[in-house]
């Protein structure tokens, strides 16, 4: 599938006012607002366009599977540092559109932190190039990063350039037995110290902590963190990234994004903590969880849920009227007829 074919499809939809449902591998069909519109499958627009290890970037077409990208990077000892989930066959376009990062987010940053440039087909079928392939670029508004997490509502990401980083020389995972409260206290204390913590995961009385960096630094940190057991955890971290770990079983699954220092909520259904306490997973049906999260300075995402619940409840926390109005104006700036993934981010647009 060529860029021209994507452009023609969007133009035709624009002309006929036909809503489009953008789709890569469909690995995140469960995520966000309910699906609607005519499928525009862009998985055929694939392939790595440029990879320059010493310039620390990779440019790929939207349909390129993350697995293909990560294989190419691994050959040069590099990685996508935000450790995105694959959920089967995720593509780079869907990865950026959904903006989901994995365990290393707490150390390396979010998807948007690694987006250097995008080639976008806007809602009128126009091709727009934002950003580029250099690390620093402040010419013009940073539309490339705005696109990350926009759920395909601002344009078809036809191609993207991502910053890549070297893989750490050494990694080691430690396991501690502790309860939720102690884990949160410890994670916040450690976060204020120069320790090479690249991931954290608490579930059912156990805390896993991944150290990444120079070999000597990892060993020194492991020693400093005191009594614990060292585990071979490569598979565990993949199961956390992919949410195949039993902690993520059950629906509805809520993702709470909170200031890491918020103490244990005392709400039933806690499944796991990640990102030093800044990401928390709940699997029960806490009626008021959105209000709780908002009151504590964060927000709750209805991450996985049966369709019956997704019909009633938006996936993402509601916006203030002023912010919603601003979102609508921005949406209109890129997609004046509202044909791209309508309702996938918010029901209102």
């Amino acid at each position: 599938m060529t860029l021209d074919e994507i452009v023609s499809a969007v133009r035709a939809a624009y002309d006929s006012h036909t809503p489009l449902r953008l789709r890569g591998a469909g690995s995140k069909d469960f995520y966000g607002g309910l699906l609607s519109g005519e499928v525009l499958d862009v998985s055929g627009h694939r392939g790595i366009v440029a990879y320059e290890p010493t310039e620390l970037y990779i440019t790929a077409r939207c349909g390129t599977p993350l697995a293909e990208i990560e294989t190419a990077l691994a050959e040069k000892g590099q990685m996508l540092a935000f450790e995105p989930p694959h959920f089967g066959g995720a593509t780079v376009g869907g990865c950026i559109a959904a903006g989901l990062a994995g365990p290393r987010r707490q150390q390396a940053g979010a998807v948007r932190d690694f987006v250097l440039g995008v080639k976008l087909v806007d809602g009128t079928g126009q091709v727009l190039n934002f950003g580029g392939q250099v690390m620093k670029n402040v010419a013009g508004y940073d539309v490339s990063r705005l696109i990350a997490g926009s759920m395909g509502t601002l344009g078809v990401i036809a191609e993207a350039t991502l910053k890549v980083l070297p893989m750490p020389v050494a990694e080691q995972t430690l396991r501690f037995a502790m309860d939720e409260g102690e884990a949160l206290t410890k994670l916040n204390q450690w976060g204020g110290q120069p320790l090479p913590i690249s991931a954290s995961f608490w579930h059912d009385g156990q805390l896993w902590l991944r150290l990444s960096g120079a070999r000597a630094a990892v060993e020194a940190a492991a020693h400093r963190l005191g009594p614990n057991s060292t585990v071979d955890a490569q598979k565990t971290w993949i199961s956390i990234r992919e949410q195949t770990h039993s902690a993520f079983a059950g629906e509805p699954l809520w993702r709470l994004s909170l200031p890491s220092t918020v103490p244990a909520l005392g709400v039933d259904g806690l499944r796991a903590l990640e990102w030093g306490g800044a990401q928390r997973w709940y699997a029960a049906e806490p009626a008021a969880i959105r209000e709780v999260a908002a009151r504590l300075g964060g927000h709750a995402v209805l991450y996985r849920a049966p369709e019956s619940q997704r019909c009633l409840e938006g996936a993402f926390a509601p916006l203030s009227p002023a912010l919603l109005a601003l979102h609508r104006r921005l949406k209109k700036a890129f997609d004046p007829r509202g044909i791209l993934n309508p309702g996938r981010l918010y029901a209102e647009f």
């Binding site: 290890p53 010493t54 310039e55 590099q78 903006g99 979010a110 948007r112 932190d113 806007d122 126009q126 727009l128 190039n129 580029g132 392939q133 250099v134 690390m135 620093k136 670029n137 402040v138 010419a139 013009g140 508004y141 940073d142 539309v143 990063r145 705005l146 997490g149 980083l165 070297p166 893989m167 204020g192 110290q193 120069p194 320790l195 090479p196 960096g213 120079a214 070999r215 000597a216 060993e219 020194a220 940190a221 994004s257 200031p259 890491s260 220092t261 990102w275 800044a278 300075g297 964060g298 927000h299 993402f316 509601p318 916006l319 912010l323 601003l326 104006r329 700036a333 981010l345 918010y346």
Partner: protein, 497 residues
């Protein structure tokens, strides 16, 4: 010195008495400047070649006053230019002749430093370095460190998405700000971002940071603080050839090392710096590299060993590793003093800010050498080598007729070559008014139109910092007519990105 103006088209004249009547309803006398001698200090920012007197300077002390000022300007159709410390290098804070300068200088309080949550909440007029100073007792600091950090403010850093020598490893402002409070031109207050790691909806934080005061006025900033590294050490390497130094930079990255800082200076820069700072730079070298490792002592020792190995293999003619904190600071002192040092050997200098892929460095430096001959002006090069961000310092004498115009043309050619080499016209200083024409080179009409639509989504009447950052299509058409002769592009041999 030539006087520059921003306007693409003559703006409506502001009814000054009517504006003052409205402003005086809520601003006490000490918050309002109208006399020419009081306005004069605001006529330019760090880019002194571009000057304009505003009609009025407002110095609000509360967010409520900011809201009222913006509402008033919106009602009356008066342009507003927000201003921090005025240290910017692209004329982003240059006033509008028919407008108000909105100075956030009195928003200078650090509201909260939270040790456990590792964040600070500050007002936009707080100086960059003051944040790290306030966090120091907790073993924390604010990572982005533009070289103007003793003076520049957080509000300005947000507007420009400022970087610094450590951003290769620690990121730019956009990677280190968690939340901002913004007042729109209509006087509406938005909270963007949060103390959590993300917020619902579009990533407006990414859009606002680096938007050069075009989308809103920031009244509060929450930044991330990071633990001070236990140790930092610098390797200083000499090279007999700039291309070799450029290759050495690529070799460090290829070896899987992301240093805390990776800076390069050419011979013209070290020659200016050494007599001034006595940093111990190798005066015979064509280029020197400074490569900093930070972290735990174990980590630093391991990285320094690997860097030393890579630089030796890359052909460094001399290598020195800082043996004490005092020596590390001495090595850096020269780099940090590069601008003032160049200022000592020339009446004026003009600092550029292009970014290029690192591998095109040697090509760029040899092109700059050619431009020195073409324009009859000297140029010293300092370079955030790790992230491909060049700061050529073009030396000129503003008192000589035609000198500034040549410096400006020299700078424009560097920027346009940066784009042609696959880079950008600005890595961290912003477009402002300075690079407004080069935006027409970096972006085509559809992207510029999209930027104007984004602007309109926030500021429909175009009252916030008009004429900056994004050129009108009319302006680009004019610039294109001046620059493209007989359908010939510049640098026709180069691939376009």
């Amino acid at each position: 010195m030539a006087k520059m103006t921003t306007n693409d088209k003559p703006d409506a004249r502001t009814d000054l008495p009517a504006l003052l009547r409205r402003l005086r309803l809520f601003l006490p006398a000490q918050c309002l400047l109208v006399d020419e001698e009081d306005l004069r200090p605001y006529e330019c920012d760090g880019l002194t070649a571009y000057r304009e007197l505003p009609l009025v300077v407002c110095l609000p002390e509360t967010e409520g006053q900011v809201i009222d000022i913006l509402r008033t300007c919106h009602d009356l159709g008066v342009p507003v230019v927000a201003r921090g410390a005025g240290t910017g290098l692209s004329g982003g804070a240059m006033p509008h002749a028919q407008g108000v300068v909105l100075s956030l200088a009195r928003f200078n309080r650090i509201l909260r430093v939270d040790r456990e949550a590792r964040l600070a909440v500050v007002q936009p007029g707080v100086r960059n370095l003051a944040v790290s100073e306030a966090a120091a007792p907790f073993g924390l600091y604010y990572a982005p460190d533009p070289s103007s950090q003793i003076a520049c403010t957080l509000g300005g850093n947000v507007a420009e998405n400022s970087g610094g020598v450590h951003c290769l490893k620690y990121g730019l402002t956009v990677h280190n700000v968690l939340r901002i409070r913004v007042v729109s031109i209509e006087g509406e207050v938005f909270e963007i971002g949060s103390e959590a790691l993300d917020a619902p909806g579009y990533d407006l934080l990414a859009l606002m940071i680096g938007s050069e005061g075009m989308l809103g006025v920031v009244t509060e900033v929450t930044v991330k603080l990071v633990p001070n590294p236990e140790l930092a050490q610098v390797v200083m390497a000499s090279f007999a050839d700039v291309a070799q130094a450029g290759d050495a930079v690529a070799a460090i990255i290829a070896a899987g090392i992301i240093p805390a800082g990776l800076e390069m200076m050419d011979k013209a820069a070290t020659a200016a710096v050494e007599p001034f700072v006595k940093a111990g730079y190798d005066m015979n070298a064509e280029a020197i590299l400074l490569c900093e490792a930070d972290g735990t002592p174990e980590e630093v020792a391991e990285e320094i060993a690997r860097v030393t190995e890579v630089l030796t293999a890359a052909g460094a003619s001399d290598l020195r590793v800082s043996q004490s904190e005092a020596e590390r600071l001495k090595f850096w002192a020269g780099r940090k003093a590069a601008f003032p040092a160049v200022g000592r050997i020339t009446p004026d200098y003009y600092c550029m800010d292009g970014t290029i892929p690192r591998k095109r460095l040697a090509e760029m430096l040899s092109a700059i050498a050619g431009m020195e001959r073409k324009y009859g002006l000297r140029c010293a090069n300092v370079f955030h080598a790790g992230d491909g961000n060049l700061h050529p310092l073009i030396m000129y004498d503003a008192s000589q007729p035609g000198n500034w115009e040549r410096a400006e043309a020299f700078g424009a050619e560097i920027l346009e070559l940066s784009v042609a080499l696959g880079g950008s016209i600005t890595g961290e200083h912003g477009v402002g008014i300075e690079k407004i024409n080069q935006m027409c080179v970096q972006y085509a009409t559809p992207e510029l139109e999209a930027f104007h639509r984004v602007k309109a989504a926030f500021d429909e009447r175009g009252l916030l910092n008009p004429g900056k950052a994004v050129p009108s299509l009319h302006r680009c058409a004019e610039y294109g007519r001046m620059h493209v002769h007989h359908g010939e592009m510049k640098f026709p041999e180069l691939e376009r990105f």
